[in-house]
C-alpha cells in the first residue's frame, strides 16, 4: 500500500542528508513502525510520505499512485494524497468544537451533510468521545485531544494513516492504555499504518513489523519477534532491548571463539561471517552448581552482586576472562556475593551480529 524506494532527503542548508536511501514496502492492513533514536530520520521519512517534506530523490507510492518521483519530477501535494495523519502535538484546532475538528476532512471533501454527521458520530464513538461532540477543543485534556486527533484521522478512511509519536506527550499510565486501544482500533478498521516512535516497548507491542532506523538508514526490518529474538545487527541488538555483546575472534564451523571463550552456535548460523555474538540477559541461565554432563556454552564465573527487583533478581557475574555480564535470575533463588556460579548461554539464543546488513 505504501512503497518507498531509495528515498534520500537533504534539508536545504544542511551538510548531511537526513534520510539516506531508505526502501520499504508496507502491505495493506499492515502496521509498520519506524523505530530509532532522536535524529535518526524517522520523522523526516514519515513527513516525506505525507508530502510535508520534499525528498531529494527516490520514489514514494501510496496505493496505486506514485506520489513522488525524484527523477521524473512527480510530486503530488499533501492535500491530494490519500493519507491521514496524527501529530505529536495533536494539532487540534482551538477555534472549533470536537465534532468540528473531526468533520473537517469530510467537509473539505464536500461530502453531503448527512454522511458527514454520521461518519463523525461513528469516529467519535470509536474513540469514546461521543459525549464530547460539542465541546470546544480547548476544554479537553491531553488524552482527550489525542483521541480527537485520532478520530479526525480515522474518519477519512484513507489508504494509510501516518502517526508521528502520537503518544509521547501523554503520561505513562495513559500511554499504556492508549497503546492497546490504538492497536485495537486500527486493526478493527483494517487501516494501513506507519507509526513513528523512539519507544521500543511501544514498537514491540503495536507493530506487525518494525523498521529499525539509525543515522538516516534502515538498519533492520522485521517482525517484533524476529527483531527482538534474532537481530542481525549490533545496533538492533543493543537498541531494541538489552544485550550482552561478545567480540568474535575466529569462527570455525559452529564453534565461535570470542573474548569470553569458545561458544557453540546453532547449525544454521554456522559459516556465516559475523563480528559479534550477543544474547539477551533474560536468556542466560544461571545455576549454582556445574552440570554433570558437558553442556555447551556453560561458563564459570563469580557472582558480583544480586539485586532483587520484584519479578526477578538482577545479577552481575564476572566470568573467568574478566568480563562482567548481566544475568536475570528467578526471584526466589538465594545467592551470595562471591560464590561461584555457572552461566549457560543457550546456543539457540545466541545472536550472530554484524555491523550492517541489507535491511530486507
Amino acid at each position: 500500500m505504501v512503497e518507498l524506494k531509495d528515498l534520500w532527503l537533504t534539508y536545504p542548508g544542511a551538510t548531511q542528508p537526513s534520510v539516506r536511501g531508505v526502501s520499504l514496502r508496507v502491505e495493506p492492513g499492515e502496521f509498520v513502525t519506524l523505530l530509532g533514536p532522536s535524529g535518526c530520520g524517522k520523522t523526516s521519512t514519515l513527513r516525506s510520505v505525507a508530502g510535508l517534506e520534499s525528498p531529494s530523490s527516490g520514489s514514494i507510492s501510496i496505493g496505486d499512485n506514485e506520489v513522488f518521483n525524484g527523477s521524473s519530477g512527480v510530486e503530488v501535494r499533501t492535500h491530494m494524497r490519500d493519507i491521514s495523519m496524527v501529530f505529536q502535538s495533536y494539532a487540534v484546532w482551538p477555534h472549533m468544537t470536537v465534532s468540528g475538528n473531526v468533520a473537517f476532512p469530510l467537509e473539505v471533501a464536500q461530502l453531503p451533510t448527512a454522511e458527514v454527521r454520521q461518519r463523525v458520530a461513528e469516529a467519535l464513538q470509536m474513540v469514546g468521545l461521543d459525549s464530547f461532540a460539542d465541546r470546544s477543543a480547548t476544554q479537553l485534556s491531553g488524552g482527550q485531544q489525542q483521541r480527537v486527533a485520532i478520530a479526525r484521522a480515522l474518519v477519512r478512511r484513507s489508504a494509510v494513516m501516518l502517526l508521528d509519536e502520537p503518544l509521547s506527550n501523554l503520561d505513562a499510565k495513559l500511554r499504556e492504555q492508549m497503546r492497546l486501544e490504538l492497536r485495537q482500533l486500527l486493526k478493527t478498521v483494517g487501516l494501513t499504518a506507519v507509526y513513528v516512535t523512539h519507544d521500543q516497548e511501544e514498537a514491540l507491542m503495536l507493530s506487525d513489523r518494525i523498521a529499525l532506523m539509525n543515522a538516516g538508514k534502515f538498519v533492520e526490518i522485521g517482525t517484533p519477534v524476529d527483531l527482538y529474538l534474532r537481530p542481525r545487527t549490533l545496533f538492533g541488538a543493543t537498541f531494541l532491548g538489552a544485550a550482552e555483546i561478545f567480540k568474535v575472534v575466529r569462527t570455525s564451523g559452529t564453534a565461535v571463539e570470542t573474548d569470553i571463550g569458545v561458544l557453540q552456535v546453532q547449525v544454521d548460523d554456522a559459516g556465516t561471517d559475523f563480528e559479534h555474538v550477543g544474547i539477551r540477559p533474560e536468556a542466560i541461565r544461571v545455576t549454582q552448581h556445574a552440570s554433570p554432563h558437558q553442556i555447551p556454552n556453560q561458563l564459570p564465573g563469580t557472582l558480583v552482586s544480586a539485586v532483587f527487583s520484584g519479578r526477578q533478581q538482577q545479577l552481575i557475574v564476572q566470568l573467568r576472562s574478566g568480563r562482567s555480564i548481566h544475568v536475570l535470575a528467578d526471584a526466589t533463588t538465594n545467592f551470595a556475593a562471591g560464590q561461584t556460579v555457572y552461566v549457560e548461554l543457550p546456543a539457540e539464543r545466541l545472536m550472530g551480529l554484524q555491523k550492517e546488513v541489507s535491511p530486507d
Binding site: P12, G13, A50, G51, L52, S54, S56, S57, G70, G73, E75, R77, T78, H79, M80, I83, S84, M85, F87, Q88, S89, Y90, A91, V92, W93, P94, H95, F104, P105, V108, A109, S136, A137, T138, Q139, L140, G142, Q145, A149, R152, A153, R156, L162
Partner: protein, 573 residues
C-alpha cells in the same frame, strides 16, 4: 537531487511575487533612477551623481542625521516601553475595564499627527501653553516648566502618536503566549526580572524586533511632529529636508533626485534590519506559542498595584487622547487660533462646525476617505496575510523567492510617501489604459503599497506564533493551501488581522503627503480637506474636521473591539 526550487510552485505564490514586484519594485526602480538623474525626473535626459554629492557632501546633512537618530531612537525606546507596558497590562493582568482600555489606547491613531502636535503646542508652549499657565499659577513659578519646542517635546509627542501601533503588535504577541512556558520557568525558581529577561524577551523577540524596526524607520522619516515642534526652534530632521526639497526648493521643481538619494540610505538601513529580523526568526519553531493544545494566558493578579496600573492607563489616555482632543475641540470652537483663557471662552462659537458640516466638499471628502480607507485596509490585510503565509509556510517556493517576497513587502516603509506618489503618477500616466490617474483608485493603490510593510509584519509576527502542525494537519486532511488559509489560519489570526485592518483605516484617513501629491479634482480625502483649511488660514475649521474624524474613528474602533472580543471566547478566554 532536487531539480529546482520552483518546480512545483503554485500559481498563487507566483502571482503574489508578480504583484509585489509591480507594487513595490516599480516605485523602487523609479526612485533609484531618479536619484541618478540631474533633474530628478526619471524621464529627463542624462545621468549624474550630483544628487548624492549634494546630499551627502553637505556637512549640514550629518547634523540632520544626528538629530534624526536621536529623535528616532528616543521614540523607539519610549514607544516600545509605553506600548509594551500597556499591552502587558491589558493582555496579561487582571486590569479592570480591559475592553474600554483597548479602545482608548487605539484611539490616538486617528488623529493626524500635526493636529496632535498643534494641540500640544497649545498645551505646552512656553509662552501660550495652558499647562504651563496652570503650573505657573499653581506652583508660583516664574519660568514655564514645559517647553514643547525641544527634542524632548518632539520625542514625547511622537511617542504618543506611535504607541497604538506598538500596542497592536505586542498585544497580539502577549495574547498568544503559552503559560506553560512561563510556569516552567517559575518552577525552576526564576524570579520576575529573570523571567522577563530570559523568557519573555526572547519569546517576544520577533514581535519586539518587528515593532522596533517599524518605529525606527518611521522615526527617521516622519515629518509632522518634528516639523511643528522642532522647526520653529531650528531643530531639523531628515524629513524636514525631504519636505523642503519637495516644496520649498528653489529652482522651479521639486528636487526628487535628492529625495531619492536620501531615501537610498534608508532603504539600505531597512534591508539590514529586515535581514537581521529574518535571521532571528529563521528557526521559526522557537517562537511558536500557539499550538493546538489550547490555553489561557496566565493572568497576573495586580493586587495592590491595581490602582497604580489603572492610573497609568488613565494618564496615558489623558496625555494621548483627552488633552489633545480637548484642545482640538477648543480650537474648533474658537474663531481664531488662541490660547485657552476665560476671555477666549467668551468668544466660542459653533460657526466653524456648521460651516464644515454644511460644506458639500467636506461630505464628498468624507465619503471618499471612508471607502478608500476601508477598501485599502481590506486589500492590504488580505495581501499581508498572503505574504506572511507564503514567506513562512509555502515550501514549494525556494528560500530565495520567499526572502524576496518578504523583503519586497517590507520595503515601502523606507520609501517616502512623496516618492511613492511620484512613482504612481508616472506609472499610471504611462499606462493610461488603466484609468486610475487623478481618481481615488490611485490612492487605494498607493495606500496598499505604503501600508503593506506594517500589516505584513503584524501578520507575520502572529503567524510565527501559530504552530505549523495546525495547518499541516489541515493539509493531511485533504485541505488545499487556500482552504487551509481560509478555515484554519484566517480564523486563528483574525484578532491580529482585525487590529491591522483598523490601524490601516485610521492611518489612511489621516494620511496626508501621498494624498496631497496625488490630488486630482475628484479624489480629495478628508485629511486633505482638513489640511486645506489649515494651510489656507482656517485652523478652526481644520480642527472641526478633526473632531469629526475622531468621532467616526471611535465608532469604527468600538465596533472592531466588539468583534475581536467575541473571538477571544473561542480561545477559552
Amino acid at each position: 537531487m532536487r531539480q529546482g526550487a520552483l518546480r512545483s510552485a503554485p500559481w498563487l505564490s507566483f502571482g503574489l511575487l508578480a504583484l509585489l514586484l509591480y507594487l513595490v519594485a516599480v516605485p523602487l526602480a523609479l526612485l533609484l533612477v531618479s536619484s541618478f538623474k540631474p533633474t530628478g525626473l526619471p524621464l529627463d535626459a542624462g545621468w549624474s551623481l550630483q544628487n548624492f554629492d549634494l546630499v551627502y557632501g553637505d556637512a549640514g546633512f550629518y547634523t540632520l542625521l544626528r538629530n534624526t537618530l536621536t529623535f528616532a531612537l528616543g521614540c523607539t525606546v519610549c514607544a516600545l516601553a509605553v506600548g509594551g507596558v500597556l499591552a502587558w497590562l491589558v493582555e496579561r493582568t487582571d486590569l479592570p475595564f480591559r475592553a474600554t482600555a483597548r479602545v482608548m489606547i487605539a484611539l490616538p491613531m486617528v488623529l493626524p499627527p500635526f493636529l496632535l502636535a498643534m494641540g500640544w503646542v497649545l498645551l505646552a508652549s512656553p509662552r501660550t501653553g495652558w499647562f504651563n499657565q496652570l503650573f505657573k499659577d499653581a506652583l508660583g513659578l516664574t519660568q514655564a516648566p514645559f517647553n514643547i519646542y525641544s527634542m524632548g517635546g518632539m520625542i514625547f509627542v511622537e511617542t504618543l502618536a506611535l504607541v497604538p501601533s506598538v500596542y497592536l503588535i505586542l498585544s497580539n504577541a502577549f495574547r498568544n503566549m503559552d503559560p506553560a512556558l512561563e510556569e516552567a520557568a517559575m518552577t525552576c525558581g526564576a524570579r520576575w526580572p529573570q523571567m522577563v529577561r530570559r523568557i519573555f524577551v526572547p519569546l517576544l523577540a520577533p514581535a519586539l524586533v518587528a515593532a522596533a524596526t517599524y518605529l525606527l524607520i518611521v522615526g527617521f522619516l516622519v515629518f509632522d511632529v518634528p516639523g511643528t515642534l522642532g522647526m520653529p526652534v531650528g531643530l531639523f530632521v531628515v524629513s524636514s529636508r525631504i519636505v523642503y526639497l519637495a516644496t520649498d526648493q528653489s529652482g522651479g521643481t521639486s528636487a526628487y533626485g535628492q529625495i531619492a538619494a536620501i531615501a537610498v540610505t534608508f532603504l539600505v538601513l531597512l534591508l539590514a534590519l529586515a535581514w537581521s529580523y529574518r535571521r532571528m526568526t529563521r528557526q521559526t519553531n522557537r517562537f511558536v506559542t500557539v499550538t493546538g493544545k489550547g490555553f489561557r494566558p496566565r493572568q497576573l493578579k495586580l493586587g495592590g498595584f491595581k490602582p497604580f496600573a489603572v492610573a497609568a492607563v488613565m494618564l496615558y489616555f489623558v496625555l494621548a487622547v483627552l488633552a489633545p482632543l480637548g484642545l482640538l475641540l477648543w480650537t474648533s470652537l474658537t474663531p481664531y487660533l488662541a490660547a485657552i483663557s476665560w476671555e477666549m471662552a467668551g468668544k466660542l462659537t459653533l460657526a466653524q462646525h456648521s460651516s464644515v458640516l454644511s460644506n458639500p466638499r467636506v461630505g464628498a471628502a468624507a465619503w471618499t476617505s471612508i471607502w478608500v480607507s476601508m477598501l485599502s485596509a481590506t486589500l492590504v490585510t488580505a495581501l499581508a496575510l498572503l505574504v506572511a503565509w507564503t514567506v513562512l509556510r509555502a515550501r514549494s517556493l525556494g528560500q530565495e523567492a520567499r526572502n524576496l517576497i518578504d523583503t519586497l513587502s517590507f520595503m515601502p516603509l523606507a520609501i517616502p510617501g512623496t516618492m511613492i506618489g511620484m512613482a504612481l503618477i508616472y506609472v499610471y500616466l504611462t499606462l493610461s489604459f488603466i484609468p486610475v490617474y487623478g481618481t481615488a483608485w490611485i490612492l487605494v493603490i498607493a495606500y496598499v503599497t505604503v501600508y503593506l510593510s506594517f500589516t505584513s509584519r503584524t501578520a507575520s509576527a502572529s503567524l510565527i506564533q501559530l504552530h505549523p502542525e495546525l495547518d499541516e494537519a489541515a493539509r493531511t486532511c485533504g485541505a488545499s493551501p487556500a482552504t487551509t488559509v481560509r478555515r484554519i489560519v484566517l480564523p486563528l489570526l483574525l484578532p491580529a488581522l482585525a487590529g491591522a485592518w483598523v490601524w490601516v483605516v485610521a492611518h489612511v484617513m489621516r494620511e496626508l503627503s501621498t494624498a496631497l501629491l496625488l490630488q486630482g479634482d475628484e479624489n480629495v480625502t478628508l485629511a486633505v480637506q482638513l489640511w486645506s483649511y489649515w494651510a489656507g488660514g482656517e485652523p478652526s475649521k481644520a480642527a472641526a474636521v478633526g473632531v469629526w474624524l475622531v468621532i467616526v474613528m471611535t465608532v469604527i474602533t468600538i465596533v472592531w473591539q466588539r468583534l475581536s472580543a467575541r473571538k477571544d471566547v473561542v480561545f477559552g478566554g
